[in-house]
C-alpha cells in the first residue's frame, strides 16, 4: 500500500514536471508552429527573477508572478525583434532561437555570475502511509492540473482565445475579418514565454539557480511536445501522463538518469508508431 502510494506520488511528480516544462513550448509550437529553443532560458529567467524578488522580502507567490511577467514581456519583445521575421520558416526559426538561447545563457553567465543564492523550499512534509511527502511538490502537481484547466478556459472562453484559434486555423481569413494577427502572434509568444517563466518560478525553490538550469527542463519539454503534437489539451496533457508513468517507473527502478534514458527511448519508439503525435492520432481517429 505504501509503495503503491509512493509510486502514485512519483507519477504525479513526473507528470507535473513534464506538463510544466512543456506548456510554454507547446503553446508556442501549437499556435505558431515555432519550436522555441530559448524555452529553457525563459525558464531560467523566471527562476532568477523569482529568487531575486523573494530575497527582497516579498512573498513567494508574488515573486513567482513577477518571474512569469518578466519572462512574458521579454518574450513579446523577442517576438517583435526576431521571430516575427521568420514566420513560415519553421526550420530557420528553430535555429535563430538557438542563437538567442546561446546569447541568453552566456550573457547571464557574464552579467550575473555562475549562480544566484536560492530561496528555501516553503512548507514541510506530510507523512502518509509511513512515507513523507514534501507539501510543495504535491502543490506543484495541483498547479500543473490547474494550469491546464486555466489554459483550456483561456483558449475556449475568452475573446483572446477565440481570436487566437481563428488566427491559427485561417490566418488570412482572420486578417480579412479585421484581426490584428501580428498582435495575436505577439501575445501568444508572450504567453508561452510567461508560462516558461512561471515554471522557472515554481521550481526555483527546489533547484540551484544557475544560468544553464534551463537545460534541465529541455529534454522533458521536447519529449512531451514531440509525443503530444500540436494540440495542448488533447496532446500535451495525455503525452505528459503517459511519459510521466514511464519516467516514474524507470526512475524508481534505476534512478534519475535511467528515467531520462527511458523517456528518450519511449519517445523514439513512439515516433515510429505515432508519427503525427498523440493529437494527430486522436484527430485522425475522430475525423
Amino acid at each position: 500500500m505504501a509503495s503503491l502510494l509512493n509510486l502514485l506520488y512519483q507519477c504525479g511528480d513526473s507528470f507535473a514536471f513534464l506538463v510544466l516544462s512543456a506548456l510554454g513550448l507547446a503553446v508556442i509550437f501549437g499556435m505558431m508552429g515555432v519550436i522555441n529553443l530559448a524555452h529553457g532560458e525563459f525558464i531560467m529567467c523566471g527562476a532568477m527573477v523569482t529568487v531575486s524578488v523573494a530575497r527582497l522580502g516579498l512573498p513567494l507567490p508574488v515573486a513567482i508572478a513577477c518571474g512569469a511577467l518578466v519572462a512574458g514581456v521579454i518574450g513579446i519583445v523577442l517576438e517583435r525583434l526576431v521571430i516575427r521575421h521568420l514566420y513560415g520558416r519553421p526550420l530557420d526559426s528553430i535555429v535563430a532561437t538557438w542563437g538567442i538561447s546561446l546569447i541568453a545563457t552566456q550573457g547571464t553567465l557574464i552579467l550575473v555570475g555562475s549562480s544566484l543564492p536560492g530561496v528555501g523550499t516553503p512548507f514541510t512534509s506530510v507523512s502518509l502511509g509511513g512515507n513523507s511527502y514534501p507539501v510543495y511538490r504535491l502543490l506543484l502537481i495541483a498547479v500543473a492540473v490547474a494550469l491546464l484547466g486555466a489554459l483550456y478556459l483561456l483558449f475556449n472562453v475568452t475573446r483572446y482565445g477565440t481570436v487566437a484559434r481563428a488566427t491559427i486555423a485561417l490566418p488570412h481569413m482572420a486578417e480579412a475579418l479585421g484581426v490584428d494577427t501580428g498582435r495575436v502572434y505577439s501575445l501568444t509568444f508572450g504567453l508561452g514565454a510567461a508560462l516558461a517563466g512561471l515554471t522557472g518560478g515554481l521550481y526555483a525553490p527546489t533547484m540551484t539557480i544557475v544560468p544553464t538550469m534551463g537545460g534541465t527542463f529541455l529534454m522533458e519539454a521536447f519529449a512531451t511536445v514531440v509525443i503530444g503534437g500540436t494540440d495542448v489539451f488533447i496532446g500535451t496533457a495525455p503525452a505528459a501522463a503517459v511519459l510521466g508513468v514511464v519516467k516514474a517507473l524507470a526512475t524508481s527502478w534505476e534512478g534519475q538518469l535511467i528515467g531520462q534514458v527511458a523517456l528518450l527511448v519511449a519517445v523514439i519508439a513512439m515516433v515510429r508508431v505515432l508519427p503525427r503525435g498523440v493529437s494527430g492520432w486522436l484527430l485522425q481517429e475522430r475525423g
Binding site: 485522425q284 481517429e285 475522430r286 475525423g287
Partner: protein, 240 residues
C-alpha cells in the same frame, strides 16, 4: 480486354464520415477513362487511395492482377504508375534539366540521360529553358514540365488530377492531344477533370462519382444523355 486497375468496394471514412463508400471501378488496359463528379464527391480521395497517399478503411486495389492495397506510393510508381497533380509538383529550386533527370534516372544510364532530356525538352517546347530554375517558369510551362516528368517515367498507367487547371483553352487542347498520343502509344489513362471540354476531347469512358459511389458509367454521349447525372450536377437545389 482485361482490367489494368481495379478497385473493389473501396471505402474510406474519417470517423463517421464516409468519403468513398464502396467504390468499385475497373480500368481497362489501353483506355482513357475520365472521372467526373460534383465537388465533394470523393474524386480526390479516390485518387489518393489509388496512389497510396492515404490508405483505405476497407476494400482492395488490384493493379495488373496484383493486390497493391497496402503498398507505399513509391512502390506503386515503380510498378508503372505515374501521376500529374493539379498544382504542379515540381522541384522549384532545381533546374528544368535536373527535374527531368530525376524522373528519368530510374531507367536510364547516365550516358543516355542528356540525350533523352534534350528530346523531352524539345517535345515539351522548353528547350530554351533547360538551365533555368523551375521556379522561373510561367504557370503553363510548369504544368508542361510536370507532364514531362510524368511521361519520363514511361508509365503503363498515367494518373491525371485536373491536369489542365489554370491552362488557357489552347494549352488545354494541346494537353488533350498529348494525352491521346500517349494513349495511342499504349498508355492507359485515368483523369479526374472538371473541364468538360477536355473530357469530351479525350474520354473513351466516363465514370460519375457522387456521394462516394460510382453513380453512372458509360461513354460521354451516354453520360450526357443520362437525366440522373444532369440532376446531380444541375438540380442539387431540389434537395435543399
Amino acid at each position: 480486354m482485361s482490367a489494368l486497375l481495379q478497385t473493389e468496394a473501396l471505402d474510406k471514412h474519417y470517423g463517421g464520415l464516409h468519403v468513398t463508400a464502396g467504390v468499385s471501378l475497373a480500368l481497362e488496359e489501353g483506355e482513357i477513362h475520365c472521372l467526373i463528379g460534383p465537388n465533394g464527391a470523393g474524386k480526390s480521395t479516390l485518387f489518393k487511395l489509388i496512389l497510396g497517399a492515404v490508405l483505405p478503411s476497407g476494400g482492395r486495389i488490384l493493379y495488373a492482377g496484383e493486390d497493391i492495397t497496402n503498398l507505399k506510393p513509391f512502390q506503386r510508381i515503380r510498378r508503372g504508375m505515374s501521376v500529374k497533380f493539379q498544382v504542379p509538383g515540381i522541384f522549384q529550386a532545381l533546374t528544368v534539366r535536373q527535374n527531368l533527370a530525376i524522373a528519368l534516372q530510374h531507367h536510364l544510364a547516365r550516358a543516355h540521360l542528356d540525350r533523352e532530356i534534350d528530346r523531352l525538352l524539345e517535345f515539351l517546347g522548353l528547350h530554351a529553358a533547360g538551365l533555368q530554375r523551375a521556379s522561373e517558369l510561367s504557370h503553363g510551362q510548369k504544368q508542361w514540365l510536370e507532364i514531362g516528368m510524368a511521361v519520363a517515367l514511361k508509365p503503363r498507367l498515367l494518373l491525371l488530377d485536373e491536369p489542365t487547371a489554370g491552362m488557357s483553352p489552347d494549352e488545354t487542347h494541346a494537353t488533350g492531344e498529348l494525352v491521346r498520343s500517349l494513349n495511342r502509344a499504349g498508355v492507359t489513362v485515368l483523369a479526374v477533370e472538371h473541364d468538360m471540354e477536355f473530357v469530351r476531347q479525350v474520354a473513351q469512358r466516363v465514370s460519375v462519382l457522387h456521394l462516394g459511389r460510382i453513380f453512372a458509367q458509360g461513354s460521354m454521349q451516354e453520360i450526357v444523355a443520362d437525366e440522373r447525372v444532369a440532376e446531380i450536377y444541375f438540380g442539387e437545389t431540389r434537395y435543399d
